[in-house]
């Protein structure tokens, strides 16, 4: 038997324990009140975010057609193998399993995985998978529920390289683009235009993505679909481009670097637009492979460069047309004005040479343009003076972007006293005017030169070149061409002279049967004469060949500028390209010297390389050739 115990001190202390217990329970209850009643809405939202996923259904971009409704860019269904999971370790395991089934770059996928935030919905393991891979994955749908095949629209360009620089290409929006104004409010992961028309009209071409709201479990796997809105296709676009002409251009430029732009001189509509060498824009559609990208970037031929609007070349003798128009308009000369060409002009203590050492003798404007006499235009330029020449050059769209609806257009550079003082803080020397007179010491883009041809062709109207004709069937408004105020007889005289260039002058290889072509040749020096003399055979030192033209001469429907890089003389390199293209356009035979009589199906091959390199610059081809 136990002795009596005094339990009272213990019982007093027990009260403390009881109080602690009750307090703790009440505090807990209070905290649940806070969580569930006061903040219930907040947590309900979090729970909804947990279980609901909004998956975009990408909308196909609008198809792009040429002016006659022929397809230039379309969408095809492609298959993406995707892995959907919320937990990284599951994902790594999935990748390991997939690696045994299909061929893909595990390290590249893991690298992308590292870039994304902690919350990803699905990871594209293999874009544009082939049928065999799709079958392999689909067959294991039950074993690997986290792996699935998505059908996504993929941009396809049937002409490939043929329309690379005009249409551009598409790709997933980059982080940098996400921050820019142009791409504001576009969802991450969206496919957007990255160049060309695709970039310029990105918003217009994008459809409205659809959306699937699904309930997912903690592994990120779909449990069921809650709602679905279908995507809306982007509206189709119609370009001014003419597929036939574009194809003819691509063919004619085969194997050569350079650029061809053809405009409708009456409106500025771009009928053909080509930059060579080009790249295959289809490579970008499902994400370009790093090796393909680095090959494009490192290629010394610069296939990514958009030559018609980004290339800056000296216009050379083609500039004589600008000089002639300005001098006639300013009444410095008349078509009958004659200058004597002894093969050089000695002025300002300098000897300026003509390309024909023995000289052209006494020539009028028409013959000077036809034979491309330098001395004639030295004299014209000196009399016209740099200020007026500069004003007219700029009036005809030089030294400023043309405003074509393509991104990243360069402006070219026309040097004049004002520019020289501002940029170099040096005053103008009169002798510089002499060089400017024949298109030296300046750069133009091929598109600008095509526009100059269009000015002559249209009787003195400057139009803004534009590619987009209509979006969704609705015509895109364009500014009407601006009249430069050139007198009709001025334009007529220059046009007549340009006709004689093709008929009997330096541009005879652009001659067509039954269609009068007006043109002007030119060559743009790449290096000084001295260096060229030292190494006559090196192709990369050869001047670029120019040919600007329009046809038919009396009722022009097309104005064109052709540039053949390192083509030496425009008459032998660029003029044949123009001849071949125009022949195809008008459905007639090219009958210029050296042009093979073209069968309807066999296009004329470009003039052999050796022959061009050997031809002297700006030489007049013999009439019998």
């Amino acid at each position: 038997m136990k002795i009596y115990e005094d339990l009272r001190p213990l019982q007093r202390r027990l009260v403390v324990l009881q109080a602690v217990m009750v307090t703790l329970m009440v505090v807990l209850l209070g905290y649940f009140w806070h969580l569930q009643v006061l903040r219930g809405r907040h947590y309900r939202e979090l729970a909804e975010n947990n279980r609901l996923r909004a998956l975009p259904i990408p909308a196909p971009r609008g198809a792009i057609f040429d002016r006659k409704g022929r397809i230039l860019a379309e969408n095809r269904s492609s298959f993406n193998v995707v892995v959907t999971t919320e937990r990284r370790q599951d994902l790594v395991a999935s990748l390991g399993r997939l690696d045994r089934l299909i061929d893909f770059d595990v390290s590249e996928v893991e690298e992308r995985l590292g870039r994304k935030g902690p919350r990803f919905r699905s990871l594209v393991v293999k874009a544009d998978a082939n049928e065999e891979e799709v079958a392999v994955v689909e067959a294991r749908r039950l074993e690997y529920p986290e792996t699935s095949v998505d059908v996504v629209p993929l941009r396809a360009y049937p002409l490939g390289e043929g329309t690379a620089h005009v249409l551009g290409y598409v790709g997933e929006i980059t982080d940098r683009q996400m921050e820019s104004e142009t791409f504001a409010a576009i969802e991450p992961g969206s496919v957007v235009g990255q160049a060309g028309i695709e970039l310029e009209y990105n918003r217009a071409l994008m459809g409205r993505d659809g959306m699937r709201r699904i309930i997912v479990n903690s592994r990120g796997l779909e449990v069921r679909e809650e709602e679905k809105t279908s995507p809306t296709d982007g509206p189709y676009a119609t370009l001014n481009l003419d597929l036939d002409l574009q194809k003819a251009v691509v063919e004619a430029m085969k194997g050569q670097a350079g650029s061809v732009v053809a405009l409708d001189p009456r409106t500025g509509e771009v009928l053909a637009y080509y930059s060579a060498p080009a790249y295959d824009p289809n490579l970008f559609s499902s994400g370009i492979k790093p090796e393909d990208w680095s090959r494009l970037v490192k290629d010394p031929a610069k296939p990514l460069m958009n030559r018609p609007i980004q290339g800056g070349y000296a216009p050379g003798s083609t500039f004589k047309i600008v000089n002639a128009l300005a001098a006639l308009q300013e009444r410095v000369i008349t078509p009958a004005t004659r200058f004597h060409c002894p093969g050089y002009l000695a002025i300002y203590n300098t000897l300026f040479r003509c390309h024909k050492p023995e000289g052209h003798g006494s020539v009028d404007l028409r013959r000077a343009i036809s034979l491309s006499c330098n001395v004639y235009f030295y004299n014209v330029g000196v009399r016209l003076e740099i200020e007026r020449l500069s004003r007219w050059a700029k009036a005809m769209g030089l030294s400023a972007p043309t405003g074509i609806d393509l991104p990243h257009e360069a402006s070219g550079l026309f040097q004049d006293p004002e520019w020289k003082m501002r940029a170099l803080k040096v005053r103008w020397y009169p002798s510089e005017t002499v060089s400017v007179s024949i298109g030296q010491a300046m750069t133009v883009t091929p598109l600008q030169l095509a526009r100059v041809a269009a000015v002559v062709a249209s009787g003195g109207k400057l139009a803004r070149p534009h590619l987009m004709r209509a979006i969704g069937g609705k015509a895109v408004p364009v500014d009407p061409p601006r009249d430069l105020g050139l007198r009709p007889e001025v334009v007529a005289a220059v046009r007549e002279a340009m006709v004689s260039v093709v008929a009997e002058g330096t541009g005879q290889r652009a001659k067509l049967e039954g269609v009068a072509v007006a043109g002007k040749t030119g060559s743009a020096q790449v290096v000084s004469h001295a260096r060229l003399e030292a190494d006559r055979k090196a192709r990369e030192l050869q001047p670029h060949g120019w040919f600007m033209c329009f046809a038919p001469a009396d009722n022009p429907r097309v104005a064109m500028a052709v540039l053949v890089e390192h083509g030496t003389a425009g008459g032998t390199s660029a003029a044949p390209v123009a001849g071949q293209v125009l022949a195809r356009w008008f459905g007639v035979r090219a009958i210029g010297p050296g042009m093979q009589p073209p069968a309807d199906t066999v296009p004329a091959p470009p003039v052999p390389q050796v022959a061009r390199a050997a031809a002297p610059a700006e030489s007049v081809p013999g009439p019998q050739r």
Binding site: K2, E5, L7, P9, L10, Q11, R13, L14, V16, L17, Q18, M21, V22, L24, M25, L28, L29, Y31, F32, W33, L35, Q36, V37, R39, G40, H42, Y43, R44, L46, A47, E48, N50, R51, E86, R87, R88, P118, I215, V216, N217, S218, R219, V223
Partner: protein, 367 residues
Amino acid sequence: MATVAIDRRLLHNIDWGLMLGVLLLAGIGVATILSATAGGANAGLNVKQVWAILAGLAALLVCVSIDYRRLVDQSPWLYGLSMVALLYVLLFGPRIAGTRRWILIGPAQVQPSEFAKLVAALLVARVFAEVRKESLGLRDILGPGAAVGAMAVLIAAEPDLGTAFTLVPMFVAVAFLAGLRLKAVLAMALLMAGLGGLGWAFALKDYQKSRIYTFLDPSLDPKGAGYQKIQSQIAVGSGGVVGKGYKQGTQSQLGYLPARHTDFIFSVLAEENGFVGVAVVLGLYLFVLWRALETAQLARDRAGALLAAAVATLLTFQVVYNVAMVAGLVPVKGLPLPLMSYGGSSVLSSLLAVGLILNVRMRRFAN
């Protein structure tokens, strides 16, 4: 003195109110487990839980049939047995999820630490019942402190920090009731803090540290150690006032809640039954724990009072810690909710604990 057979008079003195509360909690537990495991790989565990409860009730019956004073007397032996079992688990137990906590007996997994803590309660009740001083100093608690500490170390080494830590408030509470001076209580608290610091530096495993770091800032690792806390809070909060409905909890049914039928069972309850359900269940726990502490008040002797208080503190700590963990107030530790969480050892141990309380209470008049 009743020994094995139950005295009919004693049966009459069983606290049926307490029993009712306990059975209600266990029943709500089974229903919640049914919801938490529906359709998954764990479906059917609610049936196993019912069997565990029935076994627990049988054990409870055996427990109340033995006078608690005999149990208290035998506590040194039981302590030795427990230590052997804990050592055995540590040395030879199967490794499950990186820990050695279980002994396999046939198809059943038994977790010795669940029972060892009850033995610890018996032991401290015995030791402090025999100390007959007006007030105790630190020196007086050294012996029992070392005994309980050794047990805690073995459990912590499994590692099972949650259960090991359960012993601390139990020991402090009993020492306090036995007359430990307030100064000594403070000193002990300081000592604990110091040991905690040392433990942090040397004993804690990286996953344990990272759990504590992410507890302080769950967004550090929303998919890792902070995941459980965040998901549990979302489940609880999104339950709102009346809950999403039985078996309708999105967090639990879609698998966002980890360990939802075991340690986070309360989270499922809170999501599906809302604040109303939480208030009911916490009310039931308050009632049960209150009756347990009341038993300590009513006990006829020091040993009974200390035993009832020790067991009540064990239960209180587990309930409070588990519920606070579910609410995201304390770091996640593997500590089941007594009576409700799925798990045979936990249910058995909880019902045995109730049995000890009933044992003391029904013998409060007996001489």
